[in-house]
């Protein structure tokens, strides 16, 4: 239970159309990530699904019933906000109990679910504290706990990790992924971080300026980006996009090659360039190379350590079967 279907849903603020009519189906139990640069409409889309914003046209079906005019409280969805949005005047216990109190869940059942959620989220020792006395990561756990206990048909996450520091973010990312595996409930997750999208999603929806650029599994997006925008947005470091004679020689106005798809040599290769910056991580070496094929700098990833430094000459050969070709409109050509 938790299929969400958007039919020709659009949203305008005054005269500004932030989301042109779009169709999208989120299957029951799926972990869907909305990803895109800031201002692409991903949060707005989530808020439309939540019911916190009214849609301008179209309709939204949740579990097969039209929920377009159903208030957020009655949609059976739970949301985790970027700012956590905990109730500062209530203890952790009361925060988690709040949705159950609203739903009229019997006190004993409330107690049972609070204990279970607190145990799962490592909050047992903090149940009687106020949100103000917790760290960022703990607050986020409380927000998730508050969402879990109402047993919603889908979870909505609005950039839930962006207020956390990098180390904590990786940990919470795993916790949320595990939570999804355990509950098998539909989750919609908004982020601008393509790493979060790639690592967590069953299905990624890439948005730009309110338009859906592509929908697919992480690897579909990685191997077959539908256009230059998706190609540049998915994958880290970014795909190198090359225009001009080198591209035309390979049969398209623009070609794309991911940093990890080069054969690198210090003696011979198709293209020759000079190293601007070499980043040695031990596990990988990232090279930023100048003077190659009209793409400056060209980013290259080499497995393991490669002893080169700034100013060294380097030769690159793109792996022919890993090339992406785009036409003059930026669309993928097979």
């Amino acid at each position: 239970m938790g299929q969400i279907k958007l039919n020709q849903v659009s949203k305008s603020f005054g005269d500004v159309e932030v989301i042109p009519p779009l169709d999208l189906t989120i299957e029951d139990g799926e972990f869907t990530v909305f990803v895109g640069p800031s201002g692409c409409g991903k949060s707005t889309l989530l808020r439309l699904i939540a019911g916190l914003e009214d849609i301008t046209s179209g309709h939204i079906d949740i579990d097969g019933t039209d929920a377009t005019h159903v208030p957020p409280a009655k949609r059976g969805l739970a949301m985790v906000f970027q700012s956590y949005a905990l109730y500062p005047h209530m203890s952790v216990r009361k925060n988690i109990a709040f949705p159950m109190k609203m739903a009229g869940v019997p006190a004993e059942e409330q107690q049972r679910r609070i204990e279970a959620a607190a145990k799962a989220l490592n909050l047992t020792d903090y149940l009687d504290r106020r949100p103000g006395q917790l760290s960022g990561g703990q607050r986020q756990r409380v927000a998730i706990g508050r969402a879990i206990v109402r047993e919603p048909s889908a979870f909505l996450f609005d950039e839930p990790l962006s207020n956390l520091d990098a180390a904590l973010r990786v940990g919470m990312r795993l916790e949320i992924s595990e939570l999804h595996k355990r509950l098998a409930t539909t989750m919609i997750y908004v982020t601008h971080d393509q790493v979060e999208a790639m690592t967590m999603a069953d299905k990624i929806v890439v948005l730009r300026a309110g338009y859906i650029e592509q929908v697919g599994t992480p690897l579909e997006l990685y191997y077959k980006p539908r256009n230059e925008f998706v190609a540049g947005f998915i994958g880290s470091p970014k795909m190198n996009l090359i225009k001009g004679p080198e591209a035309e020689a390979r049969g398209a106005p623009t070609i794309g090659i991911r940093p990890e798809h080069f054969d690198v040599s210090t003696t011979e290769g198709a293209w020759e360039g000079t190293i601007g910056v070499a980043e040695h991580l031990g596990s990988d070496t990232f090279l930023h190379i100048h003077g190659v094929a009209g793409c400056d700098p060209m980013t290259v990833r080499v497995d393991g350590e490669l002893s080169v430094k700034h100013g060294d000459r380097i030769f690159l050969t793109p792996q022919a079967d890993k090339l992406h070709r785009f036409d003059a409109q930026g669309l993928r050509v097979e």
């Binding site: 939540a50 019911g51 916190l52 208030p71 957020p72 409280a73 009655k74 969805l77 739970a78 949301m79 906000f81 970027q82 700012s83 949005a85 905990l86 109730y87 500062p88 005047h89 709040f98 949705p99 609203m102 739903a103 508050r146 109402r150 909505l156």
Partner: protein
């Protein structure tokens, strides 16, 4: 670098602050002192500051002549009633202005405030006639409603300022958690705004307590509050300064004590949003 404050400067500043404070408080102090003098000492020239025979005669006289308890009761009902009624109306109003503002919300707020600039006497006649029409002249209910209406713009403004400081996401979270609008206001917004609502209550209570124009003009005997009690001791000839002072002291004492204990709330309420 913090600004260096020399010891000397600190002494001067402190003395100055106390001096200004004393100046502001002086009329009240003088009223209280005068209430313990005899009528002759009260009008003595040059005025006597402390060297007089302290007497409670004025209080005895005032209590004997007037029913202080009844005036006090009327004041409490009128100030309290108008405040509570005002808050009940202002909370939803401020909620909608703060969280679902429309294109004209700012204009409405300013327009509401502009009604405070209308001289009250301008509408005295129509309101007086309305009171007669509805048979509520010299009744507490009329004053409760009128004082509520004239203070409502201030209550809405104060609550609006408070509510604006509450992050909208928390209210949205409540909505997602299944709270109806009523539950959202009751369980989330109001508890979070308690300090704001408390200082609004206090300030409005004081304003209503001190209100003298409508309370004097629309009451006679039955509903007269403490303002009327004071007024009944002022005479054009100014012969009863000491008794007038005693009556004034008794009228302001409750609110003075209330103000003393709630200073912190009041100051934070009035400067809310201005200083963090």
């Amino acid at each position: 670098m913090a600004r260096a404050v020399t010891r000397q400067r600190k002494i001067v500043n402190t003395a100055l602050a106390w001096g200004i404070g004393f100046l502001i408080f002086f009329p009240i102090l003088w009223t209280i002192l005068t209430s313990f003098k005899t009528e002759a000492q009260a009008i003595a020239d040059p005025p006597i500051f402390l060297g007089f025979n302290w007497t409670l005669a004025n209080y005895e006289a005032v209590l004997e002549r007037s029913n202080y308890g009844r005036f006090l009761w009327n004041s409490i009902i009128i100030a309290g009633g108008s405040t509570v009624l005002g808050i009940l109306i202002a909370v939803p109003a401020a909620w909608s202005m703060a969280f679902v503002p429309g294109k004209r919300t700012k204009d409405i707020l300013l327009w509401m405030l502009s009604t405070k600039m209308l001289p009250a006497v301008g509408v005295l006649y129509p309101i007086y006639l309305l009171c007669i029409q509805f048979g509520v002249l010299d009744s507490k209910i009329a004053l409760v409603i009128i004082l509520m209406l004239i203070n409502l713009p201030i209550i809405v403004w104060m609550l609006y300022t408070y509510f604006r400081e509450i992050p909208g996401e928390i209210l949205e979270a409540a909505r997602m958690d299944g709270a109806s609008l009523r539950e959202e206001v009751l369980y989330v917004l109001t508890p979070m705004a308690i300090p704001g609502i408390a200082s609004t209550l206090l300030l409005n209570f004081i304003l209503a307590w001190n209100e003298a124009f409508w309370t004097l003009n629309l009451t006679a005997a039955k509903a007269a509050p403490l303002t009327a009690f004071i007024a009944s001791y002022s005479s054009p000839e100014g012969l009863f300064y000491a008794k007038l002072s005693a009556a004034s002291t008794m009228a302001i004492a409750p609110i003075l004590i209330l103000g003393w204990f709630s200073q912190k709330q009041l100051v934070s309420g009035l400067t809310f949003g201005a200083v963090k």
